[in-house]
Amino acid sequence: MNITKKFLLSAFACLTLTSCGDEFFDIENAGVATKDEIDAIEKSNPDALIKVVEPLVLGLNNYLHQYDTQGTATATNPNHNDFGLMSIYHLGDVMNDDLAFETRGNGFFTFDYTLEYWGEGYVRSFFYWNFFYTVINQANDIIVKISADTENETLRAYLGAAYTLRGLGHFYLAQMFQQTYVGNEQAPGVPIVLTPAESEDAVAGRAPLEKVYAQICKDFKTGMTLLEGWNRPNKTMIDEQVAAGLYTRVCLVMNNWDEAITYARLAREGYSVYTPEQLLADNAFNNINASEWLWGADITAETTTAFASFFSFMCSYEAGYGGEVGNYQKMDAKLYDSMSPTDVRKKLFKHSSTGVKYTEQEAKFPEYTNIKFKKVPNWEADYVYMRASEMILTEAEALAHKGDGGGAARVLKELMTERDPSWNKASVTVDEVYQQRRLELWGEGFSLFDHLRLKKGIDRNYAGSNHLSSARYTIDAGSWYFLYQIPLRELDNSDAISAADQNPAPTESKVK
């Protein structure tokens, strides 16, 4: 081989062994949006902050009704009972005596119904804790991005919504991991998670309830101020009235009757109560555009979660667990039978006393089965988070607590004229308002939380009870069966909470 060839070959050898340079590692990662890309959008021009904040806000709204908010589902272990905020509402209703199961169910919500899910090692407590702390952390991510004195109206509103949701998160956590606020102000509550700028007020361990509620009220007040005057584009967003309405829930727990009244009035301004026709209409409880709804989730083809949804468990007409699978969700017999014969809400449940001619499908439902939540094709039924009737009942109850029975009756009448033509009271007690609250807001997520703040127990064991035979419990108020232990995963991975800080385990028998 001559010299030229040898030279060429050696040169070739060297060339092929050269490097590729740094661009070789600039790879495409198009399946996700990285922080770098989002920061670039934000800095692209001074008005672009909203292009990043709005997706965060809408992402948080979406999280409230996502499937598998705990992030642990696998094909072999689906979490069909995890669909966000409505799961929280539903487990609260189930851990009570106003809602009766027809069968034991598939294990989704079964152990909530049998009040066996309180233990630290069970997934339920982890789901609850993780859901609200993720909401709180996502809210904090929004708060850090917007400066408190921003001039942009929409950004202010988003900041207000973030504070509101942060307050809401701490509020629901405080209710389930410790006895009710009144009388237990110094008892250990839950961690307070805030932005780095507010680290002075944050508590990594169990802050006493007093401190938690102080933060909750502060967040709600800040939120409502920021939301003042903002017109929201649709009912999926939080506006001042929604924040006020949510705040009244806090007021009731704290027994702060005056603020409950003020904010309940503010919340329902401009909303009218359902007429009887509207109440019985197909869309009363499954369409966000219905007149009474203040705040809800708009479920579409893209966001529907099919079998893992509220309607899968609560809609008797659907193909889901509460429907074709057979675990019909019924109203407690004693509660139903307590309704006066002229109460239009009787027709929201299947019962022979209503005189209604039922369809073939409805005829198969057991007595007392709810037909309140009606089916929407393709699993696109919307979720109601808050509606106007709640505000009337809150105001009336607060007035009754203050001793103003007459004022309470006047307010309650606004609702009762549209529910029961024969209702005509001049003065009502707290219990009477509460009774109407149970009937009106059945299935909408209030049962357990009302029992906790009103310090009531449950009684499923009476003659004629339609509860599942194996779950006919009688449990007194104050029992730890109604609350959760702090999840093990928090104890294992947090330095601030240890086994010594854990809630006690309930030991009494559930049956008397």
Partner: protein, 983 residues
């Protein structure tokens, strides 16, 4: 034998050197007539083995590697080559979670290499890392599979070789007459692992469930014993969803006083789900290959077709393979070649495995025997549809299934469509240049392109998509892999000193593009294409890339073919890491000494071969399942068309290579011309482990963050022995066994976690214990007074110190303890024996494991205390009753979480013995065949996965590596008849 050799010998020649493969080389003085008696060289034929970026003689190799020959692989008739490694190579563990034809097994080498990052071995096909599924390679195309286990062996793959490397080499042509090989196998597939001993009698089920209801009412409801019995009798059928298989009224089915089924009741119907769903499937394989060539050109071409139909409906795998390989020596300094392969693989893989109610294996084994497969009327007669079609009971018409209602795995399996089609093209080309006498430059380039299309159709007829009139999800993916390397080799011998130097550069670039869309509401009930659907529910697409670049060099030196030294260095960058932490440096050094070559052993006849070796090196691992783990990542979600984003991944800019230090020392020997073997000790310490550290849930989702932390050590010994029991011309019989023992220990914990250990799920991380150190509730037996399920709990004083231990009912108040148990076996491996006698050959291969603990969660699910609709294991006969007080099966009690068995109850010894393969063949004598111009004709019968013995019938501990099992698709047993024809 007498040869007459006529050859001109130069007159100056004094010595005649005679050598022949396998025979001792001899030197004889030149005479006019020379008698040469050739003696067999009992030194083992020095195999040439494939190693990193080249080949090496086994004798000169300083690293640790084991080869499985293509012949042995071809004997096992599996559609996925990964499964043929079970029990064949020391140090290699296989876990196969599915029996679906074509599914892959995970390959682990020498223990558990990482905690959260990839643990599987790197697969290299013909010199190039292979990212596709192993089910796309035809086993018949494989020449050999070499597993590289230590640093010296796989440090050249340093970047990703930390978990071992499996080199697969395809066959190449040999110059000479063109050889044609044809093979056909036809066989039957049946279920390979027996099912659990569950109840099959409706009578027994009703009686046991009645008892669980009676107990629930008596112990919890505070009713009298007889009152509870009456309660149970009244509630029985309703609690079971309204199913009464007998011809007596519901409240007369079971006697309230005795708990026995009404003796006058007649059984109206009874189906067994697994019997209805399973039937033997057929397996058909045809292979043809041609190879041959001239001195300058060699080629190999093959084509194969496989059809593997599993033992349940709509589960099958078919594959077409074609390959052409050509090597051409153009002239004395230039050689080139190419290797083109095409594969088309189609599989129907229904949702049969897994713990969900659409899965046949879960549903069929868990559902109680009172639930029928078909619809029956009130008299017990089969019901048919209006056009005579079979009617299946979905658990919503005849009654309501308490679990799994609105599901029918058999009907759904028949009507659902889960089809995956993959078209794969693998194209490789190389050019070799020799220059300046000792230099060789090789340039390799390869492109693999995997195009996959998957259709998942849920039928509108019944099941999950019935209420939306059918749902179909179609996804396509294109996975494009480009690999290129350039190798410069220099080798020269100076007297006794032999040098070999390799310099190389490698680049890799992968790109994945995917598209998925879903629609609902279908017109034609069995057309899954989206054009048949009306309502669009989701559409998304994505793309991701991965790049790797490396430089490497290796020096090998030997003196007199007795003393060997090797050293290598590799520097790699991965696109997964931030530019500041991208590069990693890995090196290795090895030495070996062929003691047999020394003079002091040359006359020791009983030692045929003896070599010791040792090596040390470092390797890296970047196997995180995320392309840019150093960046925070968000996901876009739609809010009625408006953009929403959720935080889904916490980035860590300091993420970098996981590093391992690997030490290996071993002895290779052959004694008495019969016993050959290999003993090795390995110590692999991994540090800066890529670990997804769990965060407290009060920090919200994402619930973990990746870090480099901790140190872990895998340490063990491997033993491989082969013994030629008889080795004559007529009869050969040998036996081989391999055995591996290893321990896994955490040496260092993350600095911000408690240093005396902390709990992560079911494991307890502690220094000195393995990463799968179980941390569980401890079952303490059953209270003989009342049948309570007892668990141990600590007694604590006011200061929280543990002062004693007690037992409690249920796990809510129990304490978790470190169990000092893990899934890691004491020993595992395989053994085989081979007999060859007058044309008959018989081969038996076993795989085994002794020790290790695995959760038999299927068993504990079947030992529930009373869940309506769920079947029981026959061990429930031994439950606590007032007559049977001393037992470890708790009292039945409907729906009681406290009475359920959990914690370490189902932790079962994972020892097993499996007969992997048995082959009996007959090769027709050559003299018969040569008349028909046939080189070889062999007929054989082969059986794979013939039997499994484990701690409990139905329990298959091979399903998982981390200690849990599930209702996975059971492995298949295949028996085939085959013909192998060569001419």
């Amino acid at each position: 034998m007498i040869f007459n050799i006529y050859k001109e010998i130069p007159s100056s020649a004094k010595t005649l050197v005679v050598s022949f493969v396998g025979m001792k080389q001899q030197e004889l003085p030149v005479k006019s007539k020379v008698e040469i008696i050739l003696e067999a060289d009992s030194q083992m034929l020095d195999e040439v083995m494939v190693v990193a970026y080249g080949t090496a003689k086994k004798s000169s190799f300083t690293g640790s590697a084991a080869t499985v020959s293509g012949e042995k692989i071809a004997k096992m008739q599996t559609s996925n080559v990964s499964k043929s490694l079970e029990g064949s190579v020391a140090g290699v563990q296989i876990s196969q979670s599915s029996g679906q034809p074509g599914s892959s097994a995970d390959i682990y080498v020498r223990g558990i290499g990482s905690i959260s990052a990839g643990k599987k071995a790197l697969i290299v096909l013909d010199g190039v890392p292979y990212e596709g599924s192993l089910n796309q390679i035809a086993p018949s195309d494989i020449e050999s599979m070499t597993v590289l286990k230590d640093a010296a062996a796989n440090s050249l793959y340093g970047a990703r070789g930390a978990n071992g490397v499996v080199l697969i080499t395809t066959k190449r042509g040999k110059s000479g007459k063109t050889k044609v090989v044809f093979e056909n196998r036809t066989g039957v597939n049946t279920r390979g692992v027996a099912k659990y001993d569950v109840l099959d009698s409706p009578k027994e089920y009703y009686e046991l469930f009645w008892e669980s209801l009676r107990n629930q009412n008596y112990y919890e409801g505070k009713n009298s014993y007889l009152g509870a019995g009456q309660y149970a009798t009244n509630e029985l059928v309703q609690a079971l969803g309204g199913y009464n298989n007998y011809n007596v009224p519901n409240n007369q089915l079971v006697d309230p006083a005795t708990g026995r089924l009404n003796p006058n009741a007649k059984l109206l119907y009874h189906d067994n789900w697994m019997d209805e769903a399973l039937r033997p499937g057929m397996r058909q394989e045809n292979i043809i290959s041609l190879s041959g060539g001239t001195e300058k050109t060699t080629f190999y071409a093959s084509a194969a077709y496989l059809y593997d139909n599993a033992y349940t409906v709509n589960s099958d795998f078919s594959r077409v393979n074609a390959r052409v390989k050509v090597d051409q020596e153009v002239n004395d300094w230039f050689k080139a070649g190419f290797n083109l392969a095409f594969t088309n693989a189609e599989s129907d893989s229904p949702n049969v495995g897994g713990n969900n109610t659409s899965s046949l294996f879960f549903f069929g084994q868990v559902i109680a025997p009172i639930y029928p497969v078909y619809m029956y009327d009130a008299e017990g007669n089969r019901m048919y549809g209006s056009n005579g079609n079979v009617l299946y009971d979905y658990g919503t018409e005849m009654g309501k299934h308490p679990f799994g209602a609105n599901n029918h795995p058999i009907d759904q399996q028949l009507n659902n469509i889960y089809k995956t089609t993959a078209d794969v093209i693998k194209a490789k080309a190389y050019a070799e240049f020799r220059f300046l006498k000792d230099f060789k430059l090789t340039v390799n380039a390869s492109i693999d392109n995997f195009n996959t299309r998957q259709v998942e159709f849920q039928t509108p007829i019944g099941g999950d998509a019935a209420n939306v009139n059918g749902r179909s999800t179609v996804s396509t993916e294109r996975y494009y892999v480009l690999n290129a390397n350039q190798l410069l080799n220099w080798s020269r011998k100076f007297g006794m000193h032999d040098f070999d130097v390799l310099l190389g550069h490698e680049t890799k670039n992968d790109r994945v593009e995917s598209l998925t869309a879903r629609k609902e509401n279908f017109l034609v009930p069995d057309n899954p294409e989206l054009s048949n659907g009306a309502k669009l529910s989701d559409a998304t697409s994505g793309a991701a890339e991965y790049s790797l670049e490396g430089y490497f060099g290796q020096v090998k030196y030997n003196y007199d073919e007795k003393y060997y030294l090797s050293a290598s260095y590799r520097r790699d960058a991965s696109s997964k890491f931030h530019p500041d932490h991208r590069w990693g440096n890995f090196w290795s050094a090895g030495a070996s000494w062929r003691i047999k070559q020394e003079d002091f052993l040359s006359s020791t006849d009983w030692i045929n071969d003896l070599k010791i070796k040792a090596s040390f090196g470092t390797q890296g691992n970047d196997g995180i399942g995320n392309n840019q783990p150093y960046l925070d990542q968000y996901q876009v979600v739609s809010n009625g068309g408006a953009i929403g984003i959720n935080y889904i991944f916490r980035g860590n800019p300091n993420i970098t290579w996981e590093k391992s230090n690997n030490f290996n020392a071993g002895v290779e020997f052959r004694f008495w011309d019969k016993l050959s073997g290999n003993i090795e000790y390995f110590n692999k310490t991994t540090k800066d482990l890529l670990y997804a550290k769990p965060l407290p849930p009060s920090m919200g989702l994402p619930s973990s963050i990746w870090e480099n932390t901790m140190r872990m050590r895998n340490q063990g010994i491997e033993l491989e022995l082969g013994y030629d029991i008889i080795n004559t011309n007529d009869l050969k019989w040998n036996f081989a066994i391999n055995l591996t023992h290893y321990t896994n220990k955490l040496l260092e914990l993350p600095p911000d976690r408690p240093q005396d250990g902390w709990a992560v799920g079911n494991y307890y991380r502690k220094i000195g214990k393995s990463i799968y150190n179980y941390y569980e509730y401890k079952f303490a037996g059953v209270d003989p007074d009342n049948g309570d399920a007892l668990y141990y709990a600590d007694i604590k004083d006011e200061n929280g110190n543990v002062v004693g231990q007690k037992t409690v009912n249920g796990t809510s108040n129990a304490t978790r303890y470190e169990l000092d148990k893990s899934p890691i076996p004491a020993v595992y491996g395989g053994f085989s024996t081979f007999v060859d006698f007058k044309g008959f050959d018989l081969n038996l291969s076993f795989a085994y494991q002794i020790g290790g603990w695995v959760y038999d969660s299927q068993y504990s699910g079947l030992m529930h205390s009373g869940t309506a609709g769920t079947n029981w294991h026959k061990d429930i006969y031994n439950r606590w009753t007032p007559e049977n007080r001393y037992t470890n099966v708790p009292r039945l009690q409907d729906g009681s979480l406290d009475q359920s068995v959990s914690g370490d109850y189902s932790l079962t010894k994972a020892s097993y013995l499996s007969l992997r393969n048995i082959t009996l063949g007959y090769t027709f004598p050559k003299r018969w065949m040569s008349k028909a111009k046939i080189e070889k004709l062999r007929l054989y019968v082969v059986g794979d996965n013939m039997f499994l013995a484990s701690a409990r019938k139905g329990f298959d501990p091979r399903q998982s590596f981390t200690g849990d099992t599930g209702y996975n698709y059971s492995a298949m047993r295949t028996v085939s008849f085959g013909i192998n024809l060569e001419f």
